[in-house]
Symmetry: C2
Amino acid sequence: MIPKSKSKFIKQLQVKKYRKQEQCFVVEGAKSVQELLRSDFDVLWLAATPSFMEAQAKVIKRREVECLVATADELAEVGTLQTNDGALAIARFKPNVPPPEKTGIKLVLDDIRDPGNLGTIIRTADWYGIRDIIASEETADLYNPKVISATMGSFCRVRVFYTSLPEYLPKQKLPVYGTFLEGHHVHQVFFPESALLVIGNEARGISVEVARLVSQKITIPKWGDAESLNAGVATGIMLDNLRRSQK
Amino acid sequence: MIPKSKSKFIKQLQVKKYRKQEQCFVVEGAKSVQELLRSDFDVLWLAATPSFMEAQAKVIKRREVECLVATADELAEVGTLQTNDGALAIARFKPNVPPPEKTGIKLVLDDIRDPGNLGTIIRTADWYGIRDIIASEETADLYNPKVISATMGSFCRVRVFYTSLPEYLPKQKLPVYGTFLEGHHVHQVFFPESALLVIGNEARGISVEVARLVSQKITIPKWGDAESLNAGVATGIMLDNLRRSQK
């Protein structure tokens, strides 16, 4: 049973204002919670089905985390998922600090507003071994339940730092790549080992202020008639080309 | 003003059963309706803001389609979008017939359940000049408002044929490519001019019955730790590689 005070708390955390105030967020679903327990996130408590608790007994014990027994229906009832296959956890925000590494590839998100797109971009970054994302302040909140869910556990491995891009970018001594409707054909670009790759907003692409800071304009060529690609799809295509040219 | 009978009809069309019964679907948003009016879909009627009607006056007249005046708020109220920037239309289903062409690249969807993913896949297919998609019967409904909206107008150019894949695929005399966790590295594959490309279900990938019919297994290599890619992202990466190798 999840006590009323806790289920109320879970529901409050669906709202950004409360998440910020409490510095906590909700992780839902067996796979995501399983990865959370193995990450360096601070886990406050979790609610899970007996079978999840049995399967994850070792890590739950090692982390000394409070664990309430709940049915799958209860988990779905208090959470945002239509169905929940076993677990829900409350974890603490990580501090919003700039990425430590001065090298490697980092993604830069210029106002990605849709939580599903942000989650998919984080998952895709994880697939391509990218550990750091710099996001504009208008980008969707990493800790939104829809974002966490769409990352499929990748939020445990990819860090997101929110900042003002026009302030952050000029201080970096790395080439800045960005996708535009006109630019160098992505199949012909050779990416360096270290660079920043800007992904633009869903509706208007890369903003004028950020475009000014892009040193290498790239385009994903099209063969048909769509006006644009989904931001997550564009990220996948860019990163696949990037890793291929780095080989 | 949108009369009550019509707003009720629009709301009913959010439900698959009613869409099937009426053989009609709803298109929302200025850009999508604009593309609909220029497509070969049969448009029953539309509701739009005065400024949309003025901007599209020629095509509305040419198509002789009934047009109700409405405010943006009214359009949002009767539709599924949070905000609507100018128009909503009712159009008729196209008949569910196999694609005419025996050549070229066709996508095959093996149970893509998420409407957003299906819409994104259609949009991505359109970007890469693919005109035909074969979808399993369990794939999300093309005419679901979320699918139509996620295609960003590409539903006007890409046809979707629903059928049983285990019955359809063996009759085709084309190589069948499919993405698996193990297979030929996509960067090293040379795609032919004509082929079928299977995209698997979000959770379980390509089903056993369909996997048996795949002649060329391909994998998208990974550099990091995510377990899988989003289905739309995987489609984009496959099609980018395909068009590149065909050059």
